[in-house]
Point group: C2
Chain length 246, copies 2
């Protein structure tokens, strides 16, 4: 499994992904699931991946190759005129890879399936955030739904639903994501450290702060142990239950 | 879907279930999923059900009929000599119903599948708590795993993992379950009010307090609105994140 979150804030984009991949619980590895592309001053793109690792690595390699080989540059995610077009290229590439792995079958075979989260900005246009399905189609985040989750989404969802605020700082967003990821990691073996964090500040048109957070990270440890105590205190702060009189 | 939790505390057993059943999101109903049987002074049994409603209603009816019709009293969950034997009867009944619905197929057909949580106590023996699978086999709660969840378990799990304490009072357990259920209800349409709560006090050998909690319940409203604020405060109480110096 996997856990990834992408958020669109007033200030820009925040992505966090875990790095655990598993084929059964006895075959666990660490692979990066967060990728970025940029043409400084013109565009910045960030992608998080979930699903079959062979599929997602192939998609990323194909998007990369198209950027690098002049003969194959069309269509390139670094040349597409809008984020919508970038999402279409990524979606078509994903669909091609899934189909190819399934021997050309039209339907998205669950074995080879994968899902992508794509964010970014192109000069002169606002930042956008998409969730791209294995069939190649996609949906876009909006003010009503300003964040997407991929993979093992449920454990970490309540804290995001209750705390997310589009006006929050990048630091608060990182803190919120660490709490959400820590709750997930504590409950589910298929999500694991280290975590990758990528910030994108609106109109920067280049990568913002990026960080890899592992078990030895002091702040992560503070959050991980502190959140349990903070939750218990929050629980105690609520009025006590009493049974109604008979 | 469904959400049910059964806990074994030092003081006894606590069960909470939601009441929403759905066949698609456009076909939602309210059905009780919490059932009790007792022979005051001799035994008390409580069962929570999840899965195909036709299956779980049939299982409960068959367990009931066997209690009521003398000719069919063997095997009866009110006469079995131990909780282990009660669990076997419930498991066999469940397996029979699932198989029968599937036209006699050996494998548990997912369409007709259901899972049960069974707790209770028989005079002279300690209270026990079991999770019974559609194949009729079961596992028992222990000091290492003192609670079971059924159905839509993930949203409400982190708060239980962080707050559960076997020494807690029934009132604190009810409060904890209301927080866990409220987080689930806020995140997932397939779990809904009202909620059923059943308490069993060790060695009482009769039903403890029982309560149905609906949207108009003042305490539930306090928890539902208060928990969001308490969570945000817990979040703010943690030290702030800052990016490491470049």
């Amino acid at each position: 499994m996997t856990y990834c979150v992408g958020m669109i804030l007033d200030r820009g984009l925040v992505f966090m992904t875990d790095t655990r991949t598993n084929a059964g619980v006895d075959n666990i590895s660490i692979f990066r699931k967060l990728f970025t592309w940029e043409q400084p001053g013109e565009r910045f793109l960030v992608m998080a991946t979930a699903g079959n690792l062979a599929t997602t690595q192939a998609v990323v390699s194909m998007l990369d190759e198209r950027n690098r080989t002049p003969a194959e540059r069309n269509p390139s995610i670094l040349e597409a005129p809008s984020m919508f077009q970038v999402a279409r290229i990524a979606g078509r590439t994903l669909r091609e890879v899934v189909r190819d792995s399934a021997g050309g079958s039209e339907a998205a075979d669950p074995t080879f399936s994968a899902t992508l989260m794509l964010g970014g900005q192109i000069a002169g246009m606002p930042p956008r955030l998409f969730m791209i399905y294995p069939e190649g189609n996609f949906v876009e985040a909006s003010a009503d739904t300003p964040f997407f989750q991929l993979g093992e989404t449920k454990y970490g969802r309540p804290i995001i639903l209750r705390t997310f605020d589009p006006a929050m700082s990048f630091e608060d967003a990182a803190k919120l994501l660490l709490v959400s990821f820590d709750s997930t990691i504590k409950a589910n073996l298929s999500v694991g450290l280290p975590l990758d964090l990528q910030i994108y500040e609106t109109d920067a048109l280049k990568a913002g702060r990026a960080l890899r957070i592992d078990q030895s990270d002091g702040y992560y440890q503070t959050i991980s142990t502190g959140w349990g105590a903070a939750l218990r205190q929050a629980f105690q702060s609520l009025p006590d239950f009493s049974f109604p009189a008979d």
